[in-house]
């Protein structure tokens, strides 16, 4: 006869409520692990999906995923001259916060080097990739924009032609994919009045300079549009991504580029590690510590619950001892209940999590490995937590049944 099952069946309501309580606690532990996985997944998703072998970034910086990186747009031509490099794509990334349909919209803008990169690698769930150099965007579903929706960013209006799923930046914002030119326009959009004022200021500065005094003819140029002035460079991009030929050595190509003194270079894995050990590291540690704390709290609460459940049965335990039950039989009663409680709580945590986690603002990823690990932790907690109850039960003397 299994005494643990008999006791649970007899006190089913109370046991179920206790299991729900434990389950909700474990759901938080599970959720913390899922949030951690989500952060890692979100942070590395773009690097993994975009398929670049080498990242060329601003000199002495760690690249656009760690800090601001600005490099001239023409770096791509220089890199294409290196043997083994088969393609070079400009990359732009920045985050904007605007208003869309009277709601706050935070979006990470990623520029794709159209037509070299039209976004064929994007995990589309609806629509298509970018088919033209301007005024189209592919939006992540988390941005809440429908296919065909239009949004005005800066001077231009962009139409959503494709929808992706789970394309989130390391900061947790949904990504909108544009062409590099559009992404730069959005980033460096300057109002007409500011442009006119800058042109006037440019003329004034030139008039006051030696060059303007010696060559007054130049002043006329100062009032022209920026893109008609050869002395002014075009906006800089965040990075240039290189794809290398099969068999080519990324280290060798990187060492060539590292010899240029105006840029820094990283392999895909370097960039991935920089991201994980940089901005994500503190969050990872914080969540890890919080998770460990929650696990300890769960163990303490479970121990108290199991202790209380044991106290309720002390008279029955004394009686069992009086009629000759072995210590193992009593130990099994408590231990089995602890494990059933833990596993039931785990199951409830999983089921509740499946319903609740998708509603979280950031992704909560429950990986099989993490679930197995947590299940083992729960079993360990259950066993350890039952020690207090077992200790109490072992101390009960048979004659206490007579009281």
């Amino acid at each position: 006869m299994n005494l643990a099952v008999k006791d649970i069946k007899h006190n089913l309501g109370r046991f179920t409520l206790t299991a729900v309580g434990i389950g909700m606690l474990l759901m938080v532990v599970m959720g913390m692990g899922g949030i951690y996985r989500g952060i890692i997944e979100d942070a590395t998703l773009l690097i993994d999906k975009i398929g670049a072998d080498i990242w060329v970034v601003q000199h002495n910086t760690r690249g656009p995923f760690a800090e601001i990186s600005r490099i001239p747009q023409n770096i791509d031509y220089r890199t294409l001259a290196i043997p083994g490099v088969v393609s070079a794509r400009k990359f732009v990334q920045h985050t904007i916060q605007r208003s869309y349909q009277n709601k706050r919209l935070r979006m990470t803008v990623v520029g794709l080097d159209w037509p070299v990169d039209k976004g064929k690698w994007l995990p589309l769930v609806a629509g298509r990739i970018l088919n033209q150099n301007h005024y189209e965007m592919v939006a992540d579903r988390s941005l809440g924009m429908a296919l065909g929706a239009k949004i005005k960013l800066g001077k231009d209006t962009y139409k959503v032609v494709g929808i992706t799923s789970n394309m989130i930046s390391s900061g947790g914002d949904g990504i909108g994919f544009f062409t590099v030119n559009d992404a730069l326009d959005i980033q460096f959009n300057t109002p007409a009045e500011a442009i006119r004022l800058e042109r006037a200021a440019r003329g004034v500065r030139l008039r006051k300079s030696d060059q303007g005094l010696k060559q007054p003819g130049l002043i006329e140029y100062a009032y022209q549009e920026s893109n008609q002035l050869p002395a002014l460079e075009s906006p800089r991009v965040s990075a240039v991504m290189l794809s290398i030929a099969p068999g080519a050595s990324p280290e060798q190509i990187s060492s060539i580029i590292a010899g240029w003194n105006d840029v820094s270079v990283f392999t895909r894995e370097d960039e991935r590690q920089l991201l994980l050990k940089g901005s994500v590291e503190k969050v990872r540690r914080q969540i890890g510590l919080f998770r460990a704390l929650l696990t300890i709290i769960s163990a303490i609460i479970m121990a108290l619950i199991l202790y209380t459940l044991t106290l309720d049965k002390l008279h029955s335990i004394a009686l069992l001892k009086l009629i000759g039950a072995s210590n193992w039989m009593i130990l099994k009663l408590i231990l089995q209940q602890a494990i059933v409680l833990g596993m039931l709580g785990f199951g409830i945590a999983y089921l509740l999590g499946q319903k609740i986690f998708p509603r979280f603002p950031r992704r909560v990823i429950l990986s099989d490995d993490d679930l197995v690990q947590l299940a083992l932790i729960v079993i360990a907690i259950s066993v350890v937590s039952s020690f207090l109850g077992i200790w109490k039960a072992m101390k009960v003397a048979p004659n206490e049944a007579l009281n």
Partner: protein, 218 residues
């Protein structure tokens, strides 16, 4: 003899407490509160061993003074049955399971234990309440289940401490008669500690205990 404490706080709960009970004999132990009846019962129940003296059960020397001569847990399980003032049933087990667990503890397989538990309940007229939990049974019914459990392992001795205290006189007598019938039928020695003097006619022998001393009552 059983002594608690030492020096100024020393209390002699039992001084000259001797009793011989034959197989199939039902014995009553009367006495006022504090006379040492429960101490005597827990001593021969091998729960609370005496300070000095000997206990022999089923022709086996079990205890000399505080020193056990056998494994007390196993001996208690195989040779002794207990019935208390309160029925002392396990609340999360049904009537049948309360009896069955005692049989299983003694090494029987669940199926055989179940069969014997049902036989015992049938014998005590409780078969129709086999699936009821203790909370669903009256005091008398609970006491019958407790007696069934005490009989589960065919003990040499059943020790009953005020088994009718929580019952009305009619039910109390029924329980005493049940003890007598079972003692005579199964050859089990039954020692009943009681205050209830209305059912003394069911006992084969009556002892009285006062100030820790047991004397036969004539």
């Amino acid at each position: 003899m059983k002594t608690y404490g030492s020096g100024n706080t020393e209390v002699q709960a039992m001084q000259d407490a001797s009793m011989n009970v034959a197989h199939g004999e039902i014995v009553a132990l009367l006495g006022p509160s504090g006379a040492g009846k429960s101490t005597f019962l827990t001593a021969i129940g091998l729960i609370n061993l005496p300070t000095s003296g000997r206990i022999t059960i089923d022709n086996q020397l079990v205890v000399i003074g505080p020193q056990p001569m056998v494994n007390l847990k196993i001996f208690r399980r195989k040779h002794l049955g207990f019935v208390f003032q309160k029925s002392n049933l396990i609340p999360f087990l049904s009537a049948r399971e309360n009896v069955q667990i005692a049989i299983e503890i003694n090494g029987f397989k669940p199926r055989a234990a179940r069969k014997r538990a049902l036989q015992l309940l049938d014998e005590l007229g409780m078969d129709s309440r086999a699936d009821n939990f203790p909370s669903m049974l009256s005091g008398g019914q609970q006491q019958r289940i407790a007696i069934s459990r005490a009989l589960a392992n065919r003990p040499a001795v059943i020790l009953a401490d005020e088994p009718t205290a929580a019952l009305d006189s009619h039910l109390g007598r029924q329980v005493m008669e049940l003890f007598r019938d079972l003692a005579h039928k199964h050859g089990t020695a039954v020692i009943v500690v009681t205050h209830d003097q209305r059912s003394l006619d069911v006992f084969d022998t009556i002892y009285e205990m006062e100030d820790g001393i047991i004397k036969p009552m004539h």
